[in-house]
Amino acid sequence: MELALSPDQKLFRTSARGLLEEEHSLDRVREMKDGEPRWSRDWWRRGAELGWAAALVPEDLGGGSVSGEGVRDLALLAEELGADVAPGPLIPVNTVLAGLVEAHGRGPDHTAEIEALAAGESIATWAVYEPGREWSPSEPDVTATPVDGGFVLDGTKDRVQDADQADLLLVTAATPDGPAQFLVPAGADGVSIAPQWTVDLSRSFGEVRFDGVRAGAGALVGEPGAGRVVERQLQIAVVIQCAEVTAVLDRAFGMTVQWAFDRHSFGRPLASYQALKHRFADMRTWLEACHATTQAAAAAVQAGGPGAARAASVAKSFVGQRSLPLLQECVQLHGGLGVTWEHDLHLFLRRALLDRALYGTPRDHRLRIADLASL
């Protein structure tokens, strides 16, 4: 977390917490049934009124951020929602908005879609992964063939978050002029969506097939071959992921420290055993480092420029790598309770495992860091 927050940022945080607690406790997450919607559109719209989809959008497009630094506000929000492994399309909507705003002024106009998304009236998600493929947004197998001044989309995307509740899909697809992105209504003819099992109880994912889906010329986002927009989307997704995972770690670690004080064995609290104290010290160190690198990534992505890509990848590489061992230590220190359904730890572990996997694994981001270092 950022160390010094403005009064507006504090209010932004407490209002998010209020709305979250109203609808989504950890117990509710635990009891979610397969196929049940993870969140309601009404709830998201009320979140949007609090600014959950506005931080990256300039005021003249219907957005605005409380501090004037939207990426940092978004990281703050992600921490608040992440600490409760909240459901909701925070990553999909803000990632799509990041792309639309970045591309704004080049290619077809998407002002109306931006405004509707920022207001919470519409939901969009990024359809970028493809079945059996690792993170490779610039080499899509889905094709967009130019026809009659528009395009025809064919192929399959998967791991599309909230595909079942989205109005719009931002689809990466190959065109003769290079990879491009298209904003396609989820209800368009030829689009079919099938649910996918996921490890995270509070999120839902779907596989999306495109069978000869017609997209008008106006569906194009920016220009084909422009990697800059996708890069911005990736950076935003990674900052949100790192912020929510760091919040998850904070909470799990706090619970585990408290447990170590409360739980007694052989007449002593667990917290008095040096063998355990040393493990807590290492965990505390990694936790601080997760906070530091997430904060640095949010600041760098906020500032933009050449340092943003590297800072985002440094954060994802580190947080992705350390979050799971840190959480498994929390499980171990809880004993058998830590692997029970009733305990909250698995909810945290699920989110961390999911976030580690998507938008580039730590390995993918290390390779990016090497590329960026011109090695």
């Binding site: 690198t293 640095a296 440094v314 860091i369 090497a370 090695l375």
Partner: protein, 410 residues
């Protein structure tokens, strides 16, 4: 009295540096391996130049030979000194630890004479703290100083004193009272390294580095004026030294001049190994290099965050131990990955030369030094769990009992 503005000071410094100080021109000082007395002589000469030019001891008070200016002036000077040779060897511990501690706790005479001589480039200081009998338990020192009329008589042994062989004076922690608990019976002394009865040997480390020393004190006679602070109050002085040491390690000392550190440790980073051995096309190597670069950057980001948090009071000063642990880990990963990237090449050098792969190998032999120097990882873990997380302290049978009753080995 108004002081000179930063910008005016910066401007004068820029002009003076250009006219008086030698350019580095890619000349890196050699690692301290064998006879390096010329490096120390050169550092003293550079310091004398700074003093003659009116740019030495920027943050030390005027009455003790400094300029009485602010850390912002020092910062401006440091920025301007980039690209010039600076007496970096004198920064630690002389200017970052010993002189500030004397300033805080020394007598008027000590401040005037020792700080002044250091600023003039005439004297170098060191610390005699750790002992062969115990590294982590500093307050358990057994070097003794016994009162004999108007003198103390010093007997014992110290170890791990950085660059004591080049120093003129050392701050020596000794036990003066064995009938009180360990922290209460200590006194700090300012000891001349050339006093009769002082023997200093250089220690050769695995990588050939010879910066550390061991010392033996045989009936060294110290006048009462050698006491720093009060008799029996040595732990407070030592704590002040440790405070200045931590501050300096975090890059926050206002008393050091110039940027960077003198070269001490031969070694090689994974990037250097990958580049030199032509392995940068291998995706496994690229991943390892990415991991090294990421962790390195995270360690820096964490330093910045924790330093700010300590200054703002959001974290206790003991949280500096988090950085100690993270930097040790980053150092381990650097050496491990350098060896991994080198692969089979790490076995031999290039002819008789060690080559980059040999440097990686030698760096690896010294891998644990990052987890040992300045207090072991294990002590840092105790500090984090006890002082940051508030967990129960380790039992200590030596607490609250006269030191003469404390068991010492078998």
């Amino acid at each position: 009295m108004t002081i000179e503005s930063i910008e005016s000071f910066r401007g004068r410094a820029r002009t003076w540096l250009a006219e008086n100080m030698p350019r580095t021109a890619g000349r890196e000082p050699a690692p301290i391996i064998e006879d390096d007395s010329h490096e120390w002589q050169w550092a003293r000469e550079l310091q004398k130049k700074l003093y003659a030019g009116g740019f030495a001891g920027i943050c030390f008070p005027k009455e003790y030979g400094g300029l009485g200016l602010t850390p912002a002036h020092q910062q401006a000077f440091n920025e301007e000194s980039e690209g010039y040779e600076m007496p970096l060897l004198l920064n630690s511990p002389t200017f970052s630890i010993c002189a500030p501690t004397l300033l805080d706790m020394g007598s008027e005479e000590q401040k005037r004479e020792r700080i002044g001589a250091a600023i003039r480039g005439e004297e170098i200081m060191c610390q005699f703290l750790s002992e062969p009998g115990g590294g982590s338990d500093l307050a358990g020192v057994r070097t003794r100083a016994d009162r004999d009329g108007d003198h103390f008589v010093l007997n014992g042994a110290k170890i791990w004193s950085t660059s004591a062989y080049a120093a003129d004076w050392g701050l020596c922690l000794a036990r003066t009272d064995w009938d009180v608990p360990k922290h209460h019976g200590l006194t700090m002394f300012l000891v001349s390294t050339r006093a009769p009865g002082v023997t200093i040997n250089r220690i050769r480390m695995v990588n050939g580095n010879r910066e550390f020393c061991e010392e033996f004190f045989d009936n060294v006679r110290l006048p009462l004026s050698a006491v720093v602070g009060e008799v029996g109050d040595g732990w407070r002085v030592a704590s002040q030294q440790l405070y200045h040491e931590r501050t300096a390690m975090g890059g926050g000392s206002p008393y050091t001049s110039g940027t960077g550190h003198p070269a001490m440790m031969p070694g090689a980073t994974p990037v250097e190994v990958a580049t030199a051995l032509g392995r940068t096309a291998d995706p496994r190597v690229r991943e390892m290099v990415g991991e090294y670069l990421a962790l390195n950057e995270v360690a820096e980001q964490t330093s910045a965050r924790v330093t700010r948090a300590i200054e703002a009071g959001d974290l206790p000063p003991t949280a500096a131990s988090l950085l100690r642990l993270l930097h040790a880990e980053a150092s381990h990963v650097k050496h491990d990955l350098a060896v991994e990237v080198a692969g089979a090449a790490v076995a031999t050098g290039v002819g008789n030369d060690e080559g980059i792969q040999g440097r990686a190998a030698i760096g690896f032999l010294m891998r644990q030094s990052a987890s040992l120097g300045g207090g072991s990882d294990e002590m840092s873990r105790n500090v984090v769990s006890e002082r940051v997380l508030g967990m129960p302290r380790e039992p200590a049978p030596d607490r609250g009992v006269p030191f003469k009753q404390v068991r010492n080995g078998r």
